[in-house]
C-alpha cells in the first residue's frame, strides 16, 4: 500500500479551500449550537441560500460583490424566518423545523418549478470569474514543496478562504467576550435565570441564529466560488451532520474549536477515504467484501459512529471544557 500517498492526500485536503469553507460554516454552527445551545439541524440551508443568492444575482446581471452581499442577506433572512416561529419553543421543535425547512427549501430549489431562477437540478455554473480575475498568483503554476503542491488558482481561494476564517474567528472571539456573549451563554445555561435579570432570551437566540447563519452563508459562498458551481444536491442534510461532528470534535463553545475540528476531521476523513480505496484495490479480502463504491461509503458509517462516540465519551471534544457542554442534565 502507498502509505505516503495516503498521507499526502490527507494533508493536502487539510489545507485546501474545502476545509476552510467547512471551518467557516462550523464557526457559524458553533455560535448557534456551542454558545447558544440552539439545535439547528438545518445548517446546510444557510450555506445553500448563501451560494444561491450569490449565483442568482450574478446570473441576473449583478456583480459578484453585490451577489455576495445578497447571499449573506439571504442567510440572515432565513435565520429570521426559521427563528421567529421556533425559538420560543423547546429545543426539539427547532431541531425538527430546521431540518424540515432545509430539506423543503432544497426540494423547491431543485424543482422544475423554480428552474427559471435556480436552473433546477443542474444548478448554476461559472458565476465567480470576477473573483478569479483578482488572482495575484499564476493560475496554472504549482506552488509549494513537493509533494505538497497546489495550483495558483487553488492557492488564491485558500488564501482568501482561510483569511475569512481568521476574521470570523476574531469576530466570534470579540462578541463572545462581550456582555452579549456572556448573556447568550447564560441563556444557554438557564433561560429562566437570565430572563429574571431582564435578558430577552428570544432576542439573543434569534441574534445567535442569524449571525451564525450569515457566517454559514459566507461559507456556502466560498464553496460556490471555489467550484464555480452551485447544485441543490450538494446541500444534503448530511452536510449539517458533518458540521456537527466538526464542532463537537474540535470543542463546542470554544473559539478555535471549529478550526481544529475541521482540520482534524478533514484529515481523518480524507486519509480514511484514501486508505479504504487503497485497501479495496490491493488487499484481497477487502476487495472481495466491498466494491469500490462500498469502500467509499465506509467513511460515512464511521462519521456516524464517531459522532455518537464523541457525544457520549468526549462531548467537550479536543479543546472544550466539559462544564460548558450540553451533555449532562442539570
Amino acid at each position: 500500500m502507498d502509505w505516503l500517498g495516503v498521507l499526502t492526500d490527507g494533508i493536502l485536503a487539510v489545507i485546501g479551500p474545502f476545509t476552510a469553507a467547512y471551518a467557516l460554516s462550523a464557526i457559524g454552527l458553533n455560535l448557534q449550537f456551542g454558545y447558544g445551545g440552539l439545535l439547528n439541524f438545518g445548517h446546510v440551508a444557510f450555506m445553500m441560500v448563501g451560494a444561491y443568492g450569490t449565483a442568482i444575482t450574478v446570473e441576473a446581471g449583478g456583480s459578484l460583490w453585490l451577489g455576495i452581499l445578497v447571499g449573506v442577506l439571504a442567510a440572515v433572512v432565513l435565520g429570521l424566518l426559521l427563528g421567529i416561529p421556533t425559538l420560543r419553543l423547546r429545543a426539539d421543535y427547532l431541531a425538527i423545523t430546521t431540518i424540515a425547512a432545509a430539506e423543503a427549501l432544497r426540494l423547491i430549489i431543485r424543482s422544475s418549478w423554480a428552474e427559471p431562477l435556480t436552473n433546477g437540478v443542474f444548478g448554476i455554473q461559472g458565476f465567480a470569474d470576477a473573483f478569479f480575475d483578482l488572482n495575484p498568483f499564476e493560475p496554472a503554476a504549482l506552488y509549494g514543496i513537493d509533494p505538497f503542491l497546489v495550483t495558483g488558482r487553488k492557492l488564491w481561494v485558500m488564501v482568501v478562504g482561510w483569511g475569512v476564517v481568521a476574521l470570523a474567528t476574531l469576530f466570534v472571539r470579540r462578541i463572545i467576550a462581550s456582555p452579549w456573549g456572556r448573556a447568550l451563554k447564560a441563556i444557554r445555561e438557564d433561560e429562566d435565570a437570565a430572563a429574571s435579570i431582564g435578558k430577552n432570551a428570544f432576542r439573543f437566540k434569534l441574534q445567535a441564529l442569524t449571525i451564525g447563519g450569515a457566517i454559514a452563508g459566507l461559507a456556502g459562498i466560498l464553496l460556490g466560488i471555489e467550484q464555480q458551481n452551485v447544485t441543490p444536491d450538494a446541500y444534503l442534510p448530511q452536510v449539517t451532520f458533518i458540521l456537527y461532528v466538526i464542532v463537537i470534535l474540535g470543542g463546542a463553545a470554544t473559539v478555535l474549536g471549529p478550526i481544529v475540528g475541521a482540520i482534524v476531521f478533514q484529515f481523518l476523513f480524507f486519509t480514511l477515504d484514501s486508505f479504504m480505496s487503497e485497501a479495496q484495490a490491493n488487499v484481497d479480502w477487502v476487495g472481495r467484501l466491498l466494491s469500490p463504491s462500498d469502500a467509499a461509503q465506509v467513511k460515512f458509517v464511521l462519521v456516524g459512529v464517531g459522532l455518537m462516540l464523541l457525544m457520549v465519551f468526549r462531548p467537550q471534544g479536543i479543546l472544550g471544557n466539559r462544564e460548558e457542554t450540553l451533555i449532562d442534565d442539570r
Binding site: D92, A101, F241, V301
Partner: protein
C-alpha cells in the same frame, strides 16, 4: 386513464428498467433508454419492434427499436437536454399511447455519465381524459395510503418520545430496515425467496429486535449516565447516519420493488381505479393502529406505558418497572416501524434512504398532531399524507414532500402544540 394508474405504471416501468440494467447496455457514456411495456386491465407485457427517435433541438441524434423485452437505448453525445419521440406507426395492433399527446417527451435532462430512463405509457389507448372525480378519488386513496404508512411509524416515534423525551432521528432507519429485511427474504438472489406475506415476519421481528437492541445498547446506558436530551438527539443523528450508510453498503443505492407486486393490476372501486395493494396497506395499518389503541387503553402494560408517559417518577413510585416499560415501547416502535417499512416498500420501492425521506414526514405528522400524543400522531399522519398527495393538484409532484414539510412549519406558526397537544408541553 387516471394519474394513479399512470403513476403506478411509471413506478413499475422505472423498476423494470432499473432491475433489467443487464440488457442492451452500451459502453459507458450518456444515453437515454427505456422499456416499453403495455399495461392492460388484466395483463401487461413488453412491446417489441417499436421505433424511438432521440433528437436535440430538432437535430436527430439516433434511434432504437425495442427488443423482445421491450427495451431500447439511444446513446447521446453528452449531458444536455434531449427530446425523445415514439413512432406511433410502429406500435402493434391494439396498443397505443395512453395519452396521445405524449408521443414526444421533451426536456429530457441527461446528466454527466447518466443513462436516463424515460417512460412512454402504453396501454389500450383509450382517449378518455381523467375526470375530476377519478383524479380526486385516486389521489385521496394515495394520500390515505401514505398517511397509513406514516401513522404506523409516527405512533412509534411518538410513544418513544412520550416515555423517554427523546426525539429519535434514527426512527427512519427502522422503517428502512423493515423493508430491506423483507426484500432479502422475498426477492434477494441469496435469500430464500419466500412470498412477501411470509417475508414480512422476519422483517417485523428484525424491527422489534432493532428497537430492543438500541434501547439496551445505547439509550438506557445514556439515560443512566444522565445524558441530556439534546445530546441524545445528536447521538441519534449519528446513529441514523451510521445505520443508513451501512444499509447503503449492504443493499446498494438502487431502488428495488417487491417483484410479486411491482405492477399490480388496477381494479375499479366506485369508479376509481385503485391497486388492491394500496387498499390492503390502508386496511392493515388501520387494524394495527386499532390494536395499538386497545393495547394502550385496555391492557396493564398499555396503562403503565401511559402512566410513564404522563409522569415517570410518579409511575416509578407506584411500582411500575419504568425501564421495562421503556423497553417494551422500543420493541413496539421497532415493530410498527418495520411494518411501515414493508408497506412502504410494497406500495413504492425499497431504497436505502427511504426511511430518512419518510422521517421528515413522520416528524411533520407528529408535530401536527402534537408531540407526544399518540392519537394526535395518527391524526397528523393522515392529514400529512392527504396534504402531500392532494397537493399534486396544484404543484408539480416533485414538490409534494416539500408541501408536507411546509404544512409542518405553518402548523408550528399558528398552533405549535399541535392539533391534540396541550399548551404546556411546548414551552
Amino acid at each position: 386513464m387516471s394519474k394513479r394508474i399512470r403513476r403506478s405504471l411509471i413506478f413499475g416501468l422505472v423498476v423494470a428498467g432499473v432491475l433489467g440494467l443487464a440488457a442492451p447496455a452500451l459502453a459507458e457514456g450518456e444515453a437515454i433508454k427505456g422499456r416499453l411495456v403495455a399495461v392492460f386491465a388484466e395483463e401487461r407485457g413488453p412491446v417489441e419492434g417499436v421505433a424511438v427517435e432521440v433528437s436535440q433541438d430538432g437535430t436527430a441524434i439516433g434511434s432504437s427499436v425495442s427488443d423482445a423485452d421491450g427495451r431500447w437505448i439511444v446513446a447521446v453525445p453528452g449531458p444536455g437536454t434531449y427530446q425523445a419521440r415514439i413512432d406511433e406507426s410502429t406500435l402493434p395492433e391494439g396498443v397505443a399511447l395512453t395519452d396521445p399527446d405524449a408521443a414526444e417527451l421533451s426536456e429530457i435532462a441527461v446528466r454527466e455519465g447518466e443513462e436516463k430512463t424515460v417512460i412512454f405509457r402504453l396501454g389500450e389507448g383509450t382517449t378518455s381524459s381523467v375526470s375530476l372525480y377519478e383524479r380526486l378519488g385516486s389521489l385521496t386513496v394515495l394520500g390515505l395510503k401514505l398517511g397509513a404508512i406514516i401513522a404506523l411509524a409516527a405512533v412509534g416515534l411518538s410513544l418513544v418520545f412520550a416515555v423517554t423525551g427523546l426525539v429519535n432521528f434514527a426512527h427512519g432507519e427502522i422503517v428502512t430496515l423493515g423493508a430491506v429485511v423483507a426484500y432479502f427474504f422475498h426477492a434477494s438472489p441469496v435469500g430464500p425467496g419466500w412470498p412477501l406475506a411470509l417475508a414480512a415476519i422476519p422483517a417485523v421481528i428484525a424491527g422489534g429486535l432493532f428497537g430492543w437492541v438500541q434501547e439496551k445498547g445505547i439509550w438506557k446506558p445514556l439515560r443512566d449516565r444522565r445524558t441530556s436530551l439534546i445530546a441524545m438527539m445528536v447521538v441519534s443523528i449519528g446513529f441514523a447516519f451510521a445505520v443508513r450508510n451501512l444499509i447503503l453498503i449492504v443493499f446498494d443505492g438502487e431502488p428495488r420493488a417487491f417483484p410479486d407486486f411491482a405492477g399490480q393490476a388496477v381494479t375499479q372501486i366506485l369508479g376509481i381505479p385503485i391497486a388492491p395493494k394500496h387498499l390492503f396497506t390502508i386496511g392493515a395499518s388501520l387494524v394495527i393502529l386499532l390494536g395499538v389503541g386497545l393495547f394502550l387503553q385496555r391492557t396493564r402494560q398499555g396503562t403503565a406505558m401511559r402512566a410513564v408517559a404522563d409522569n415517570k417518577d410518579l409511575a416509578e413510585s407506584s411500582g411500575i418497572d419504568v425501564n421495562q416499560i421503556i423497553a417494551v415501547t422500543w420493541v413496539m416502535a421497532g415493530t410498527l416501524g418495520a411494518v411501515a417499512g414493508v408497506l412502504f416498500g410494497l406500495t413504492e420501492t425499497v431504497q436505502w434512504d427511504m426511511g430518512f425521506k419518510l422521517l421528515l414526514l413522520i416528524f411533520a405528522a407528529v408535530v401536527l398532531g402534537g408531540l407526544g400524543t399518540t392519537y394526535g400522531a395518527v391524526l397528523g399522519a393522515f392529514v400529512v399524507g392527504l396534504a402531500v398527495e392532494l397537493s399534486t393538484f396544484f404543484v408539480p409532484s416533485e414538490l409534494k414532500t416539500a408541501v408536507g414539510l411546509i404544512v409542518l412549519i405553518i402548523m408550528l406558526l399558528i398552533r405549535p402544540q399541535g392539533l391534540l397537544g396541550s399548551r404546556e408541553r411546548i414551552g
